[in-house]
């Protein structure tokens, strides 16, 4: 067996945790360097896997399989395909830059990095698991450290936000757990043996009523994490309260766990269920897009703007899932990646400003581009990405989603509304996005120099790592989307084949 690359990606942060346990609290720099090295190893390995993945062959690669609890059919089995590989790369990029974004952390540094690495281990685990048991296990591993990270190192109503976030996510994961167990038992009856293996479970033919019910469970369970309206409120509150690196991971990666689960477990296993519920998702996602963007327009706190913008942008991912065709699903996965990078960039920059200015109130800023030109440039690039400017990765994603939804010929509510109408409304969302993003840029960074902020120093040294790495990623994939597009297509194709093979099911509306 070749070198277990995926396990190595997973274990690099674990080893980091173990090493940090043995470093005394006062050696703050050593702790930070250890964390940086651990995440850097993950990043390098992820890039290697990304490059080495054979796109022509597609399917699952870098497989590893070990029996874990044979009696229950649990295997430690990992592998990546065209959907999960971009997510692994995203996670690696975000955590690597996240460590640098929290370089100025001084309060209880040791625990902070411990929990951060624990969180990211869980996230990596979810994306590489080929086994539902481990999928769920890692899912929970990712949720729990979040509570502590926000509760201890957060700001602005941190206890409330931490509790709210944890309760929402746990309720969601309870729904998902019920769904997973239902699948497991149903499959066991059909197959005659117990297994959690995702590929095997996907071969089972679930009957329609079962699919409708279980998909609904997943829709709530993973939908909370996406977050789907009206289950979205944990996200702006959580984003605002969380410390910088956690916000980055949270908005950048954790939300993608939900969408990933919905695609991987929901759509892949239950195509008929997905077809049944797709109209509901489509309608709710428009609420996400338009409503989220409108609310972002009137926020007074920088982080709230970005928090609501995430709600709005994840609406596009949901639209991509709801339209259920190649373009839209490819677009959804692309958007998951691009939004992750973009929002991580935003949070890194806002964290930088907040750390120096001790406020995030937009009205108090103005003319910051005089003092912090690099931060302003980074923020502008993030803003342009978020409004879907060509040349940045988000544009590719949004374009594919819109085109996918646009070309889907299906009516909702008895033909009263079509996917096309919804796509048009979603495109309207980018107009609103442009308005609020550029308004924030204008009010925060442009305008006359304010002397009150003359003490703010521009980003430099390690603070530049997140800005440079994340901007470069956005531009690279924005200019050459086929670097990722073909890979994602190889992952989406089997999914679409499955959807097309599935019987026709009338939508809920």
């Amino acid at each position: 067996m070749s070198f277990p690359l995926l396990t190595a990606i997973l274990l690099a942060p674990v080893i980091g945790i173990i090493l940090i346990l043995f470093i005394p609290e006062r050696e703050q720099l050593t702790i930070k360097i250890t964390a940086a090295v651990a995440t850097f190893i993950s990043l390098v390995l992820s890039i290697y896997v990304y490059v080495a993945y054979d796109q022509a062959a597609g399917g699952l690669q870098f497989l590893e399989d070990r029996s874990w609890i044979p009696a229950l059919g649990v295997n430690y089995s990992v592998g990546v395909d065209g959907i999960s590989l971009p997510m692994v790369l995203l996670t690696a990029l975000v955590i690597f830059t996240g460590v640098f974004a929290s370089w100025d952390m001084t309060h209880r540094v040791k625990e902070f990095f411990l929990f951060l690495l624990m969180l990211v281990t869980g996230v990596f685990g979810v994306f590489i698991s080929r086994d539902l048991f481990f999928f769920y296990l890692f899912f929970e591993v990712a949720v729990i450290p979040m509570y502590l990270l926000i509760g201890i190192w957060g700001s602005t109503r941190k206890e409330y936000a931490a509790m709210k976030l944890t309760l929402y996510l746990l309720v969601g994961s309870a729904f998902a757990l019920i769904g997973i167990i239902a699948l497991y038992l149903y499959a066991a009856r059909q197959l005659g043996y117990l297994t959690f293996d995702i590929q095997t479970l996907a071969t089972v033919q679930y009957d329609i009523a079962f699919q409708k019910f279980v998909f609904f469970l997943f829709l709530i369970g993973f939908g909370v994490l996406v977050p789907i309206w009206p289950l979205h409120l944990w996200s702006p509150d959580g984003h605002v309260a969380a410390p910088t690196a956690v916000s980055m991971l949270h908005a950048g990666v954790l939300m993608k766990l939900g969408a990933y689960g919905l695609i991987r477990v929901g759509v892949f296993f239950l195509p008929e269920g997905a077809k049944f519920w797709a109209p509901l998702i489509a309608v709710l996602c428009i609420v996400n897009v338009v409503y989220g963007a409108m609310i972002a327009m009137v926020q007074r706190d920088l982080k709230f703007v970005i928090g609501y913008s995430s709600v709005s942008h994840m609406g596009y991912v949901l639209l991509g899932i709801a339209a259920l065709n190649t373009l839209s699903l490819s677009g959804a996965v692309t958007q998951m990646f691009a939004h992750g990078i973009m929002t991580a960039l935003f949070f890194a920059l806002v964290g930088n400003i907040y750390h120096k200015a001790h406020t995030r109130e937009i009205a108090r800023f103005g003319g910051l581009a005089h003092q912090m030109p690099r931060v302003a440039a980074g923020f502008l690039i993030g803003g342009l990405a978020s409004l879907g400017l060509p040349g940045l990765h988000n544009f590719v994603a949004e374009f594919l989603i819109f085109l996918g939804a646009f070309t889907r010929e299906q009516g909702l509510f008895g033909g009263l509304l079509t996917y096309r109408t919804l796509a048009i409304l979603a495109i309207l969302g980018i107009v609103i996005t442009a308005t609020y993003v550029l308004r924030v840029v204008q009010r925060t960074f442009f305008g006359p120099r304010k002397e009150a902020w003359d003490h703010l120093e521009d980003a430099r040294g390690v603070e530049m790592v997140p800005i440079v790495v994340l901007c470069a990623t956005l531009i690279l994939f924005g200019l050459f989307p086929s670097l990722m597009g073909d890979l994602i297509y190889s992952g989406v194709a089997p999914l679409v084949a499955k959807i097309e093979a599935a019987g026709t099911v009338g939508g809920i509306f």
Partner: protein
């Protein structure tokens, strides 16, 4: 040469990162890199135009090549194929030359104009990025690439309008420009989505071939109308024109390059590129023609009362763009593109001249200027030449192209639009010479003294002035194998010179100049008295028909109001429900805790009683209940 057309946008595209990351601190070198890159593009464009015209590349037989940018199988029967391609035909070759020429001169000019500005290097970086995007837009062979660069020029416009970002007006203007253009691009994007829906391709040539087999004419009309939204925004046509006057907050070379010569003309260029689409649907063509014609008149009337030198020119640009759009609408792509070309030259000249004045005086209000002709001879001479061209005085460039448009309207049976165009020609010459008599001649109103600008600013002015004189002849009606045999739609049609149209337009232009001289030059008619006499009209015109106010009201009251309502709803209704669930749990806990009295005997009693009840309940079926 044509094989290397892809290099044209690449040179400035590479200059941008070089300036941004390497030569940022070395100001002179930055300027050299920017100018060098655009000069290389200019030379290449010259070669491309030459080869296009000599080697038999025509509108019907363009040269096209492409790389795959992204290809995804969409469904069983079609593939989403997005290409990064180059389409060279006389249309794009002419446009390339116009863009590179104006960009080159503007960059040279900027060395003098931006001298001493802290953002000197950045400015050249942005200009390079803009040139690259604009050239990419010109060369695009499909709607997707067009949209791609269309947005990028919008970005550059945003960055350059907001170049003096410390000025709140500039920051606001850049925001406004971007958002208004976004609204337009929303339509544009939807439009080519509809085309894609019908034909499953973005490629211009494939679309043109498939167009006659359109499955649904109504849908095609919808698509064309939506695509027309793009030009309405980019070329500042009514009702999305509001951003262009405010865009004058940017540095003046930017106004010359982006907001007069090239980017705003991109809308016209798009109409030319997709001309077959518009030509096949008469209703949409009619809409295009009337929007253009209306904007031409509308903007010209506003220009009559403005005081800011750059704003007058901005409204004039809007008005001239209206002419071009009208030309497209009445079915003469040749006339529209010809006017685009000549207008790019003389409007760049006018803006650069205005820049020279602003550079000398640091003042933009024409009523605080006066008598500049004595101080700034070169600027004045070239400016007047540009204004004459704009007014349509023969034999300058503007005369030939404007005449072509009026002739097209006249001979294609749009008499109403022809009359409207003639009226606009009168207004144009009037407001331009109002500006000239007030600012360059007459008394020094505020005692401001100008001085001539440095060589690197005046030389571009002289070059442009020379071109203003000669450029018209490439399309003059008596020149064989001129512009109309290069850029055309369908058959190369050579309209017979119509002396009635020519004479009328010249006469109204002279009339306009004479009237301006009477009022502002000789001052025999008092401008104040006129303004008093027609006060309500003057107020409406001076306030630009209150359209900005209407939009502002809509944004502040409706959009932000709705947003606040959503916010309230989110915080109180949605959050209220979910927090309410949590609060219910907590509240019931508070109530139920009294069951835990803490008294052990009570617990034991309850426990025992429960056991008794349970045993009885279980045992009842067996022992037959309590008798």
């Amino acid at each position: 040469m044509i094989r290397y057309a892809w290099l044209v946008p690449l040179f400035p595209a590479l200059a941008f990162p070089v300036i941004a990351f390497i030569t940022r601190r070395l100001r002179t070198l930055s300027a050299l890199v920017g100018i060098g890159a655009i000069a290389a593009s200019f030379v290449l464009s010259l070669g491309i135009l030459w080869e296009t015209l000599t080697s038999g590349v025509t509108m019907e037989k363009p040269v096209e090549y492409a790389l795959s940018w992204l290809a995804l199988p969409g469904a069983k029967d079609w593939v989403l194929k997005i290409e990064a391609g180059v389409l060279v035909d006389p249309l794009s070759a002419v446009m390339l030359l116009v863009v590179t020429l104006v960009a080159l001169l503007v960059e040279i000019y900027s060395v003098g104009y931006m001298h001493g500005d802290p953002g000197f290097s950045v400015f050249f970086g942005y200009l390079s990025l803009f040139s690259a995007s604009m050239l990419g837009l010109v060369l695009a062979n499909n709607f997707f690439m067009m949209f791609f660069f269309w947005e990028l020029v919008g970005l550059c416009s945003y960055l350059l309008i907001g170049f003096y970002f410390h000025k709140p007006e500039a920051a606001r203007a850049s925001l406004k420009a971007f958002v208004v253009n976004r609204v337009a691009d929303f339509g544009f994007m939807l439009g080519f989505f509809y085309l894609f829906l019908m034909f499953k391709t973005f490629n211009f040539r494939e679309l043109a071939e498939a167009l006659p087999h359109a499955p649904h004419m109504g849908l095609l009309a919808v698509a064309a109308t939506l695509i027309f939204a793009g030009p309405i925004g980019k070329s500042a046509q009514f009702p999305l024109h509001v951003w262009l006057p405010d865009a004058m907050e940017g540095p003046t070379p930017v106004s010359a390059l982006i907001h007069a010569a090239t980017m705003v003309a991109a809308g016209v260029y798009l109409l030319a590129r997709a001309f077959v689409l518009f030509a096949s649907i008469p209703e949409v063509s009619l809409l295009v023609a009337y929007v253009g014609g209306f904007t031409a008149l509308f903007a010209a009337t506003i220009a009559l009362t403005q005081r800011d030198i750059k704003r007058i020119l901005a409204y004039s640009t809007m008005s001239q763009l209206g002419y071009m759009i009208m030309a497209m609408g009445v079915g003469s792509m040749t006339a529209g593109m010809f006017h685009l070309t000549t207008h790019a030259i003389f409007k760049a000249l006018l803006f650069l001249g205005a820049g020279s004045v602003i550079h000398a005086l640091h003042e933009q209000d024409i009523f605080r200027m006066g008598g500049l002709a004595k101080d700034m001879k070169v600027t004045t001479a070239t400016f007047v030449l540009g204004a004459l061209a704009l007014a349509g005085i023969p034999p300058l460039a503007g005369f030939w192209s404007k005449d072509e448009i009026l002739l097209a309207a006249y001979s294609n049976g749009y008499t109403g639009l022809y009359i409207l165009g003639t009226v606009v020609a009168f207004l144009t010459s009037f407001y331009m010479f109002r500006l000239i008599f007030v600012a360059f001649f007459g008394r020094r109103r505020a005692g401001l003294h100008g001085h001539e600008s440095p060589k690197c600013m005046t030389v571009p002015l002289i070059i442009l002035a020379t071109l203003t004189v000669v450029a018209g002849f490439i399309g003059a009606p008596f020149v064989p194998h001129g512009f109309s045999s290069w850029v055309y739609f369908g058959e190369p049609h050579h309209l017979e010179p119509n002396y009635f149209v020519m004479v009328t337009s010249t006469l109204v232009a002279i009339l306009g100049i004479y009237l301006a001289w009477l009022i502002y030059g000789k001052e025999v008619i008092s401008a104040e008295a006129l303004a008093q006499r027609w006060r309500s009209i003057h107020t409406v015109l001076y306030n630009k028909y209150y359209i900005d106010e209407a939009y502002l009201w809509f944004f502040r009251r409706v959009v932000l109001g709705l947003a606040e309502a959503f916010h309230w709803h989110d915080r109180h209704v949605v959050d209220g429900i979910f927090d309410g669930v949590g609060d219910t749990v907590r509240w019931s806990g508070y109530r139920l805790r009294y069951l835990h009295s803490g008294s052990l005997p009570v617990y034991a009693l309850v426990f025992f009683a429960a056991v008794v009840v349970f045993v009885l309940w279980v045992a009842t079926p067996v022992i037959g209940g309590i008798r």
